[in-house]
């Protein structure tokens, strides 16, 4: 695990979220997403991982604390502009009615055929898929199309909420490889996972949440070591 070397693209500054029924979903959590690295948010189900991610895209707002994008409080940024800079990939691939091309055009209505083809190639899909109906795609293909669609907005940060949880091991590894490629190209990637082995494979930086609170760095190191040992077992 490496300490952040440059100012974060996205910073969560002591954020808390309380549900409508008064339950604390996140309590005083601070975290950062830096360019060129994958920040993994790990922890058991119900720990607040997805809630944290949604704050980054302003699909939810914190009850207290703030989120900063490139040093500016996102409360002061037009959400439409923010969301094109901070892309989100959801746990379940969400395809809209219509073809793959129709789906890509939701992200960029003016996109040329060449740009859409390039977008598909970036996620390991062939340009011939543009005309295929979204309903006909496998889970892995659908998630790749979702990623390609998000990339068309040219984000600087990619928030990925357990994007491989419904995929088979082969697709899981290839989506992980894509995330690594994006980070290598300079994007800041925040990846939510509760899979120990995946955490050990992906994490440049690790945030472990438990019952809405961030555990100490020492405990997170122990979590990563344990995850690494599990990952190295045959």
């Amino acid at each position: 695990m490496h300490p952040p070397a440059e100012p974060p693209l996205l910073r969560f500054d002591s954020v808390s979220v309380v549900s409508g029924s008064g339950v604390a979903l996140l309590a005083d959590v601070s975290a950062a997403v830096v360019s060129g690295a994958i920040t993994v948010v790990a922890g058991p189900s119900g720990a607040g991982k997805s809630t944290l991610l949604r704050l980054g895209d302003r699909l939810d707002i914190p009850s207290s604390g703030r989120v900063l994008f490139e040093g500016t409080d996102i409360a002061g940024i037009d959400p439409r502009r923010l969301r094109r800079s901070v892309g989100m990939v959801f746990q379940r691939p969400v395809l809209f009615a219509g073809s793959v091309e129709d789906n890509l055009r939701v992200a960029d209505p003016e996109a040329s055929q060449a740009r859409m083809s390039f977008g598909l190639e970036q996620v390991g899909l062939d340009a011939s898929m543009l005309g295929r109906a979204g309903d006909d795609l496998s889970g892995g293909e659908a998630q790749r199309v979702c990623i390609a669609r998000t990339l068309l907005t040219e984000p600087k940060v990619l928030l990925m909420d357990e994007p491989t949880s419904s995929l088979d091991p082969v697709n899981r590894r290839s989506i992980e490889a894509l995330a690594r490629q994006f980070a290598d190209r300079g994007l800041g990637v925040m990846w939510v996972s509760h899979d120990h082995v995946q955490v050990s494979r992906l994490a440049d930086h690790l945030i472990v949440l438990c019952e809405g609170r961030r555990v100490s760095d020492l405990a997170a190191e122990a979590y990563l070591t344990e995850a690494g040992e599990q990952g190295s077992q045959p």
Partner: protein
Amino acid sequence: MTSTHIGWVGLAGSFTLIVIAISLSLWQRLRLSGSIAWAATRAAAQLMAVGWALRLVLDPDASVIWAWAWVVVMVVFAGATLRQRAPEVPGIWWLGTLSMATVIIVSLSVIFGFGVFPIEGRTIVPLAGMMIGNSMTACVLVGRRIVAEFSEKRDEIEARLALGQPWPEAARPYTGAALRTALVPQIESTKAVGLVFLPGAMTGLVLAGVDAFDAVTIQLAIMYLILGSVATSVTVIGLGLTRQLFTSDHRLRRIDRQMTSA
């Protein structure tokens, strides 16, 4: 033209059919005889009261202001009835009242503006009643459909928002589907009129002795009025409800039985 006057004897005669319905219930042990008797009695009491009040409002010597006051009461009651029928739809009371008021203003402006009917108590009250009555079912339908659609398709709508779409654009496919669902029955009913069924107003006019062609033209004007009213009310409720489901910073609110957080 011959006038049709039922009178108390005629009314008592028609009550024979209620006696038949109660007898059938007793014979088949449906345990509905009490409900049938109560429904018939309640309908009689309500209609008698309304008839008495309408006689005052529709009196040719009465000021037309009373007719407009009657319409205002109908609009408010329509909003309250909508809330009773669709409590799961957030803000249905004020949205319903607003949509009914819009319908009345738009439709009656057209009808009276073009001189289709004269501005009199005997036209204002029944026309407003028909517009409101026909719009209510469609309003309940569109409200429920939007709440269901936005709950079931929450993932899709948030995926659109996450791609940078503003809320009106992100909501359009789902609001549009709900509006179509609510409007189609009225469109189909307009298509089938005359072939499959004879509408109530026309039947009433013919029974009252009005010439069949005159009855048809009046009915046509009323059908257009109703279709326009349903389209207007459904659109006002649909767009108003959709707006209410989003925050000003393009987030989709949580939708529960009662709407909660922002």
